[in-house]
Subunit: 332 residues, 2 copies
């Protein structure tokens, strides 16, 4: 996709699905209300209305539409997915002690950690009620497994992030927990609710999984080579926070004894000093790990596109295909 | 129940259900394991193995057995209920910044808040997988609604605890969220999985609801009149923590202007000084609110016993009936 795009693929999807997205937004507003605890909509509105791109609910709507679904359970599932995502963000902000999210102060800063933990739990419960209403045991099974992968990935990240033994397999598990598990569940349940053929349901899972992985690898790569103005992050934040991501993991795997001592000191022990980030970047350059990471991201994007081939060839499918290109286009 | 009991009703139940409880414990151990994130069993074992009485899973087993169930889905549901309970405790400890639970340091003190939040989420996800395996949409619906009541109750407690507008209705909602919703779901799903008649399922719900409310009211009352040695709590902890519970709510409802000013200062504003607890106890004595609260607890225990009447009259039923007496017997 080398041509200049006037409109980004997720904006095209939002336009094509605008009526359904409106209905999902209405459902989200209704279902986050609490008669008894007014703090709940205060906290969630702060986050849900804060201009997220609604990427995950859009994936569910797109998958259902792509498979010719004509009912309205996909609206509930789209809201379910957004609630799970929002709950995860609330809990992440407590865990990371973040002060900003989507350019605004986080809920735990505006209110307190308590509100973030408990309102996150409330949104999980609400998402659970919504999905039960679709009366599809298979959908429930998929979302239960995705929830476990997400939670396990988060715990794994916490313990593996600064451990030099973390290899590419562990990294991939963390990425699936952090991002890809909800993407793949979002697309898969869209196919399931539409009663799509097994081959198509599997393809939708594969698409979401590869899209999520490409997205997260691109994010991790941009931490080392991004334009701070465009990404809103400073180069090397992950290094300073001692988070092992793919570019470093690839450099650690090839390190000499002396280089390994450098990674042990800076990442495992966290004893960082001036010039360390430059040294880390030099080691990544030596082993061309930024290029290799970029290749991996493009490989996953290609996998996502290929997965779509067994699905009906229509407008929505091309937008999903473009979306796979788009998530890595930031790396050009 | 005025006779001296050699064995407590929950110990009788544990003996009667010992084989099933063993199977539930084995299931809990298997399902809390995580191949990828060893921190998870570390944290949960600390709590799950810490000698909880397994009251909630026992209620599910007892309800299923009472209704003549012969399958094994009730084991999964019992484990589900214990996982939900444990997850709630982990999140509560973060919210309350507790340092002790069941006489041991809390997980958030031993590890960190992150572990408590994320491992709690993991246990919720695991409980979700277990309940889906029973393939009962009705069970899923009950547990989804209970989860929402629990989460809403917790948020409500956070905002209502120090607000003098909190009346007995709000108190009851908080108590349902904190305790009774999981008790009533535990007994109800036991009946549902056994295919019991509607009237019996409803009775099991009512029993669990009333038992949970009696239990929590007794707990709140003991905070003001308990024997510190027996309860492990100091008299007046709730007052010092500015938590409105039933004995105070009843005193606030009858307060003169001057007394109201006292409650506003000590509970709403939290400006407490020496002698305030004594003054609070004197106001509760003036309006006999400890006695009235005790009456309420006994009333709910009686309601729990009465609910059992439509259920088969056997050994398990008498133990459940005795259990209702037992939870308030601490008030004698």
């Amino acid at each position: 996709m080398d041509q200049v795009m006037t409109r980004k693929p997720h904006e095209m999807l939002a336009a094509a699905l605008s009526q359904e997205l409106e209905a999902v937004n209405a459902l989200i507003r209704t279902r986050m209300a609490s008669k008894h605890a007014p703090r709940i909509p205060e906290v969630t509105a702060h986050l849900v209305e804060a201009g997220g791109k609604r990427l995950r609910p859009m994936l569910t709507l797109a998958a259902a539409r792509l498979c010719g679904y004509e009912g309205d359970h996909h609206l509930k599932l789209a809201a379910t997915v957004e609630f799970i995502h929002t709950a995860t963000l609330l809990h992440d902000d407590v865990v990371d002690e973040s002060a900003q999210r989507r350019g605004r102060p986080t809920a735990n800063l505006l209110w307190d950690n308590k509100s973030s933990v408990l309102v996150g739990d409330y949104l999980f419960a609400r998402s659970f009620q919504l999905m039960v209403e679709t009366e599809s045991l298979r959908v429930l099974d998929i979302l239960a497994n995705a929830s476990a992968t997400i939670a396990e990935g988060e715990v794994l990240q916490m313990t593996a992030a600064s451990n030099l033994k973390t290899d590419e397999d562990v990294y991939l598990q963390v990425v699936r927990g952090k991002t890809a598990a909800l993407f793949s569940a979002a697309t898969e349940i869209g196919g399931v609710i539409a009663g799509a053929a097994e081959e198509q349901v599997k393809a939708l899972f594969d698409y979401g999984d590869a899209l999520g992985i490409a997205f997260q690898i691109a994010d991790d790569l941009l931490d080392y080579q991004g334009d701070a103005k465009a990404t809103g992050k400073n180069v090397g934040d992950d290094f300073r926070e001692r988070k092992l991501t793919l570019p470093v993991i690839k450099a650690v795997a090839q390190a000499t004894d002396e280089e390994r001592a450098f990674w042990t000191r800076t990442i495992e022990k966290g004893k960082q000093q001036d010039g360390d980030l430059e040294q880390a970047l030099a080691l990544m350059a030596k082993y061309k790990t930024l290029e290799a990471t970029r290749e991996d991201a493009f490989g996953w994007a290609a996998k996502a596109r290929t997965a779509l081939e067994v699905l009906p060839d229509n407008e929505i499918r091309s937008m999903l295909s473009d979306l796979a290109d788009y998530v890595v286009s930031r790396l050009n």
